[in-house]
């Protein structure tokens, strides 16, 4: 295992983690501020990807496609919040899970109805295609570097927004005591719609960015949603910082585990069973990580201590 390969795999893990962060940030905000479990967050990721693919197909511009993804997911999020989610804040988590699960089915079949059952085409623009040479002789796809940079910029922007702006203060206040900030004259239902739309827009952007290198198809959001839940449990519910640290941890564990665990088992098993055992353990790695974190800190890395 050369240093170059190791560095490349670390970059891969980082990039995967940063994209997970875009999903997890919205999820953790919604959970933290509104106390709502939103299973339909993966559907918003899908909405973003499909909107991007449709607009990219129509205009040929990747930037327009990203803009469309942001808008479509934010609008879908706002509508869902006003029509469905608003009725769920005072219900228990089971009702929320049931209703948002129904939303997954509605979004999936609605998307199939609109776009058909076959995957759509969405590719990276030619100016971001191809590999670049990094210092140290690493050849790495330019697009993935752009993903890392964009993700970090968004993370920074989100952090600033939460800590420095008025809306950020309201969000933090809403997390701590929603009756109090309502009493102070903040329009809580407008705030909730805004937070939900913001979370949705981030998910939609992630869907479009990732859809360009993966596949744009119905049901693409749910596997990511599960990982995003793992991330917010590790990071601590409601914490943006926790979501960032959790995402990078999950991304690195998943990528490096997938590469090195089979190699590790090869030290004392024959090749085919080492591959078998290694890949099986690798798929468990992030859940083992989650278990360990929860034993050490039951509310997650940056969660509020009880």
């Amino acid at each position: 295992m050369s240093i170059v390969l190791l560095a490349e795999q670390i970059l891969n893990g980082l990039q995967f983690g940063i994209m997970l962060f875009l999903m997890a940030a919205g999820l953790t905000l919604i959970f933290g501020v509104m106390g709502l479990i939103n299973l339909a967050h993966g559907s918003l990721y899908m909405v973003g990807a499909f909107a991007a693919a449709a607009v990219a197909g129509y205009t040929g511009s990747f930037l327009f496609a990203l803009l469309a993804a942001l808008m479509a997911a934010a609008i879908a999020g706002a509508i869902v919040e006003m029509v469905v989610i608003r009725r769920l804040y005072n219900r228990d988590h089971l009702d929320q899970v049931l209703a948002t699960f129904a939303l997954i089915l509605i979004f999936s079949e609605g998307t199939r109805w609109l776009f058909g059952s076959f995957p759509l085409f969405l590719d990276i623009p030619s100016y971001l295609a191809g590999p670049v040479k990094l210092p140290g002789g690493i050849e790495y796809p330019l697009y993935r570097i752009v993903l890392i940079v964009v993700g970090l910029l968004i993370a920074g922007g989100l952090g600033l927004m939460i800590s420095k702006t008025r809306i950020g203060i309201q969000i933090r206040a809403g997390e701590n005591d929603r009756e109090m900030i309502a009493a102070l004259g903040v329009d809580i239902s407008k705030l909730y719609t805004l937070v939900f739309a913001l979370g949705a827009a981030l998910a939609g952007l992630a869907g479009a960015l990732v859809g360009a290198i993966q596949s744009v198809e119905v049901g693409m959001g749910e596997p990511v949603l599960i990982l995003a839940f793992v991330v917010i449990v590790i990071g601590g519910i409601g914490s943006i910082k926790g979501a960032l640290v959790g995402s990078v941890l999950v991304g690195l564990t998943d990528t490096l585990g997938g590469v090195f665990l089979p190699q590790f088992f090869k030290l004392f098993l024959d090749v085919s069973s080492a591959t078998n055992v290694g890949s099986s353990v690798a798929s468990m790695a992030i859940y083992i990580l989650m278990g360990c974190v929860l034993i050490w800190r039951p509310t997650g890395l940056y969660g509020k201590q009880q």
């Binding site: 059952s117 995957p119 796809p141 198809e217 596997p223 798929s283």
Partner: protein, 379 residues
């Protein structure tokens, strides 16, 4: 008086013989029509229904249900179809794990099962059954042809990769059964994985001269796009599942020139295939995939057997199925001893035809190829 009786008896036997042939047949189709992988089930259904429509046969009734790719739902649907719908024949399942959950129980209850896609090795060898027919292929077949092609192409050192589930293991076994070169590295990915950056880095570092991969559906789209962007230029070989008509447009130019193996392609030159490709385009406005061709062949096999025997007479109907007396879109088609196809498997290349990406046959990978498990089958 006597003459009259004889005539009457003759008339009776004639009508009963006629009614035997005109016996209505109820087919239960359980396939994946929603969720991930729905494109495959929709193609099988559309191909099947096209054949039924073209035949003009009013005696075949098809009940279609969506299994959503979940084994438990497939089992429930099969029970419902057998017990309350009283179907004679079951068909339609796409995924091997669902087939394993449904087929043994259905055939044990005396129903016929005709597989239009899944061909798990467990049902081809010791688990074969007189009422189970596979009209597509045994799971290993296309991968074996890929291995044979890799030898012909002069590859000596392959990097092999498949998802970590039964059909993925069948795939690597099949490839290695025929590939005589060295295996540089063997990687099992997670089922449903969409990011292959880590595997692509391993491919780059492996020093292999070829990459064999089996990643059906969306997994293949993701891998192909990322592989093209990575700048790694080791040639790819794979089965048709990642290069089928339904997903090629989503992969885009990244797929151009890749060699893949299939038992069918739209340019196989025979009248049945021509009629199928034209009919499918006219009916549905898109090019057929190999899944559609399998659905179409399955329906035609049932229709051919219906013309020969009553489905109520299981032995006669089984014998009629086994003759496979229909015009397959693959050209010649026959069943081996374990009721799986013995057929040619072709090597195709992805090309661009006008605006659409499609495949062209460039060679025959394996001729009259039967599967490796037929010997274990007691039939």
């Amino acid at each position: 008086m006597k003459l009259k009786t004889v005539a009457l008896a003759a008339a009776f036997s004639l009508t009963s013989a006629l009614s035997a042939i005109a016996e209505p047949v109820k087919v239960g189709m359980i396939t994946t029509l929603s969720g991930g992988g729905a494109g495959l089930g929709i193609d099988v259904r559309d191909g099947f229904m096209l054949a039924v429509k073209k035949s003009g046969n009013k005696d075949i009734e098809v009940v279609i249900e969506d299994d959503t790719r979940k084994p438990d739902i497939a089992v429930q649907l099969a029970d419902k179809m057998i017990q309350s719908e009283k179907v004679d024949i079951l068909t339609g399942i796409i995924w091997s794990n669902l087939a394993m959950a449904v087929v043994p129980a259905a055939t044990a209850q005396g129903k016929f099962y005709l597989s239009p896609n899944a061909g798990p090795s467990a049902l081809a060898g010791k688990g074969c059954h007189a009422n189970y027919f596979n009209v597509a292929w045994q799971n290993d077949n296309l991968h074996e042809a890929a291995g044979a092609y890799a030898n012909d192409a002069g590859f000596k050192n392959s990097f092999v990769m498949a998802p970590n589930y039964p059909a993925g293991k069948d795939a690597l076994t099949g490839y290695k059964r025929f590939f005589s070169g060295n295996v540089a590295d063997e990687v099992y990915t997670k089922l449903g994985q969409k990011d292959y950056a880590a595997e692509i880095a391993q491919i780059r570092a492996s020093g292999a001269d070829s990459v064999f991969f089996f990643l059906p559906g969306g997994m293949g789209i993701a891998f192909m796009k990322q592989y093209a962007a990575s700048g790694v230029d080791i040639p790819l070989v794979g089965p048709a599942f990642s290069f089928d008509q339904g997903i090629l447009q989503a992969v885009g130019d990244a797929a151009l020139g890749v060699k893949n193996t299939s038992q069918w392609n739209k340019d196989i030159d025979n009248a049945a295939n021509k009629a199928f490709v034209e009919g499918f385009q006219a009916e549905y406005g898109r090019l057929p995939s190999l899944y559609a061709s399998q659905g179409y062949d399955t329906a035609n096999l049932i229709l051919s057997a219906m013309g020969k025997a009553s489905v109520k007479d299981a032995d006669a109907f089984r014998a009629a199925l086994k003759q496979a007396d229909f015009d397959s879109v693959r050209g010649e088609f026959k069943f081996g001893s374990n009721q799986h196809p013995v057929q040619n498997i072709y090597v195709r290349e992805v090309i661009r035809e006008g605006d659409v990406l499609t495949n062209k046959i460039i060679a025959t990978g394996l001729e009259n190829h039967a599967d490796a498990y037929a010997g274990d089958c007691a039939l």
